[in-house]
């Protein structure tokens, strides 16, 4: 069954069509979420929310863009909303105290390891993801879509609503910022 047939069946709330759509795109949604939020449980939760939104708002999909582009947009939006909410909670917690009521730290500092990275690159990749987490949201998303999802510049542009050259500029800035972050990291640990 092709994409158009699946979408038109889903608009009629066909369960089988929904199941096929989920099975076809779950890895894509999960991988994108994981790259942006860098937490396995959060990525799973967000992926479920993405498909729930797809089910509920499929009637608003007009078919002008590809279904996958629409799916990426929903995923990116959900992930960025989640990150913003997490940041504001952290800020509030910092203002109250660095320690909880039972004297535990609330600051989260675990290294994220992407399951798809080769074993010999895991340690370096963990440092890269830590640096990636410090990037501005748009640069982070562009980097994840290009490097982790493997989208071309024009495809990234379709998701973000930017031209190919704008995406190129965004990725150049992202790479430069990542290098600066890594330089700071290595300088700090060398000292």
């Amino acid at each position: 069954m092709d994409e158009h047939e699946l979408v038109s069946l889903l608009k009629q709330k066909d369960r089988q069509a929904f199941k096929l759509i989920v099975e076809r795109w779950q890895d894509m949604v999960f991988n994108t979420s994981l790259g942006i939020v860098q937490n396995y449980e959060d990525a799973e939760d967000l992926s479920q929310e993405v498909f729930i939104q797809v089910f509920e708002s499929i009637s608003s999909f007009k078919g002008v863009a590809k279904f996958s582009t629409w799916l990426y947009r929903i995923t990116v939006r959900k992930c960025l909303d989640h990150l913003r909410s997490k940041r504001s909670k952290k800020r509030f917690a910092f203002l109250k105290s660095l320690y909880g009521d039972d004297n535990k730290t609330i600051v989260d500092s675990q290294d994220f390891v992407h399951p798809g990275v080769k074993i010999e690159n895991k340690e370096s990749a963990a440092r890269l993801f830590k640096a990636l987490d410090q990037l501005p949201d748009t640069q982070k998303v562009a980097f994840v879509l290009n490097k982790i999802e493997g989208l071309r510049y024009d495809e990234v542009g379709e998701v973000l609503g930017l031209s190919g050259s704008a995406v190129d500029g965004l990725l150049q800035r992202a790479k430069k910022n990542l290098q600066n972050q890594l330089l700071n990291y290595y300088s700090f640990y060398k000292d």
């Binding site: 890269l128 982790i148 990542l178 290098q179």
Partner: protein, 118 residues
């Protein structure tokens, strides 16, 4: 010399980190993803159905219905029998007359415009 060696080492580490994502495989969604998703959607549907069921079951309780009927009867009775906003007649007539006099002094008719000389 040592600075140059350190810089070279940094560059090497940075390049290593930058290329650590080469050949990265797409992460797979957790097992039973669709089953868990469906269970969550059913839970959400149940929760919203339960909310309206709770409201409607509360509204149809005999005590709530009786209280609502009594309240409506009380409001109607108070409007009909107690007349809380009724005016005093004498006072109304005097104030009406005063208003009328003031109005006649203030208002001008076409006749007034023709007779009043500049």
């Amino acid at each position: 010399m040592q600075t140059v060696i350190m810089k070279n080492n940094f560059d090497k580490e940075i390049n290593k980190a930058s290329s650590s994502l080469d050949g990265i495989q797409r992460a797979e969604a957790p097992s039973w993803f669709f089953t868990k998703l469906e269970a969550r959607m059913l839970r959400q549907a149940d929760n919203s159905k339960n909310y309206w069921e709770n409201i409607s079951s509360w509204l149809t309780r005999p005590a709530v219905v009786m209280a609502a009927i009594c309240l409506i009867i009380f409001i109607n009775a108070s409007v009909l029998f107690f007349k809380p906003f009724a005016k005093n007649d004498t006072l109304a007539t005097v104030s009406e007359q005063t208003s009328s006099d003031e109005y006649s002094q203030l208002s001008t008719t076409l006749f007034d415009y023709e007779t009043i000389k500049p």
